[in-house]
Amino acid sequence: MNIVNILEEIEKVDGEIYERINPRRAAMKDFFNMGKKISLAALPLAMGSMFQKAYGQTTPAAVTDVLNFALALEYLEYHFYNHALVAAPNLVPAGAPRTAITTIRDHELAHVNLLKGALAGNARAEITYAMTDFTAGGTFPLVYDDYVTFLKVALGFEDTGVRAYKGQAPALKGNAVLTTALQIHSVEARHASHIRQMLAANGATGLKPWISLGPGGISNDTGVSAVDAVYARENTDVQAGITITGIATGVTKAAAVESFDEFLSKAEVVTIANLFLRTGFKL
């Protein structure tokens, strides 16, 4: 058991771990020196109380679960974009579109590596491209042949990602890992905004960078009914018991719906993610 290694691993996700445990650097150094004198048997106890203090009520197991869940989603996103770039060279047009998809792919890979590093020995098994099926069992047969289909699935992934992180936030409450998760979450929202603009430029006229009210008041504003599950409840206009529609002049139902993204539960996200995983590799 190497306490310094453990702290270093945590520091990768939680830059403030040392500050949380003890804001005084000198005292921290004393702790390491002391560690040499503490008997090995007593060390786990000392560690336990240290982390309890640093991370409040959330148990490390719950944090590990959330991070592994996030890691699975990031693997899926990474493979989805990476395969398009390396195996379907004519799919994404050269220039701005290819640059944007490359930027997004690189962020997803960075997220995979960040989460893997943070989880270290607790990281879930790797998800390889071979375990995925981005046609979703034939729902999107042209996902790597037709650019617009590819963008539609991409948007489904990004908007799901945004909603998934949001749903897990309470499990990380008060924990420094929450900040990291939020920093990933808003990057996914930036991706979603851009993919929406790419789709709008490729036939989805009027599709907004933010999730709006679907036609006839439905929750899915993308016009792709196959991804209805991704947009469940996105037509909600009541937040924490407060009705947003009409809260001020000009705030229509559409504006109310647009101003708040909704969350998805873990079970809802798993159902969506499993559409893109082959039998035997589902979450």
Partner: protein, 242 residues
């Protein structure tokens, strides 16, 4: 001997960081004071309301969730005021689609502002006085630059404040709002330079706490956010229990 020297060095490092911290606080207070003095000249005709009086300023007490929600309320007030001005009189070079989307954003920020006001009830701070003198509202570049600054800062603010929230429902609400701000930020950034929607290197260089190698967006503590936003706020904001 070596240990002693190292310990001395550590102490010096620690003391210097304490010095920096207190200097930062002092310069922020100095700034806030200057803002209050500036407003004093035109404050005579101002409506006095709870906490928003530019003479006495307003206080954000971070001891509980009300402090964090009021902090968000303050930032949403600022954003709403900015977009109301843009949407009502956009730069002449804005396209029809751009005018429409800036109207959308205006209503999103108004909805956020009014949500916090209602959720906070009697605990809400008053209305802030804004200072947009640094923005040229007839100039597209100036307006887009300010919009980018507001949105990127808003994202970093929510990301950095989330860990302070103790109530599940409010934490989820903050998450529901920050992703919409991030969508705005990406849209505005793409208007300035297509493809810069998530330029994390730029966000890091702007001092917002992003990290491109890790794929992380900005995250800033409230004191840093208010230090940056202070340029646009006349009302003196006191921060306690941070």
């Amino acid at each position: 001997m070596k240990n002693l020297e190292q310990e001395k060095l550590d102490m010096v490092l620690e003391e210097s960081s304490i010095l920096t911290a207190s200097l930062q606080r002092r310069s922020f207070l100095k700034y806030a004071g200057a803002g209050a003095a500036g407003i004093a000249l035109i404050a005579a005709g101002c409506k006095k309301d709870r906490g928003g009086n530019p003479m006495t300023g307003t206080t954000l007490d971070f001891k509980d969730d009300f402090g964090v929600l009021n902090y968000a309320y303050a930032l949403e007030q600022l954003e709403a005021a900015f977009y109301i001005q843009v949407a009502s009189n956009p730069p002449s070079t804005f396209s029809a689609a751009e005018k429409l989307y800036f109207q959308d954003i205006q209503f999103h920020e108004i909805a956020h502002r009014e949500f916090f006001k209602k959720a906070l009830g009697p605990a809400a701070i008053g209305s802030l006085e804004v200072d947009f003198s640094s923005i040229n509202f007839t100039d597209r570049t100036s307006v887009l630059g300010a919009a980018k600054a507001f949105e990127d800062l808003g994202v970093a603010a929510y990301n950095g404040a989330g860990v302070r929230i103790k109530t599940d429902a409010y934490l989820v609400i903050a998450g529901q709002i920050v992703s919409v701000e991030a969508r705005h930020a990406a849209y505005v950034r793409d208007l300035i330079s297509n493809g810069s929607f998530a330029d994390l290197n730029d966000l890091a260089a702007s001092g917002l706490g992003a990290d491109n190698a890790k794929g992380l967006d900005g995250a800033l503590t409230p004191d840093k956010v208010l230090g940056i936003a202070g340029k646009y706020i006349k009302t003196k904001i006191n921060v306690i229990n941070l």
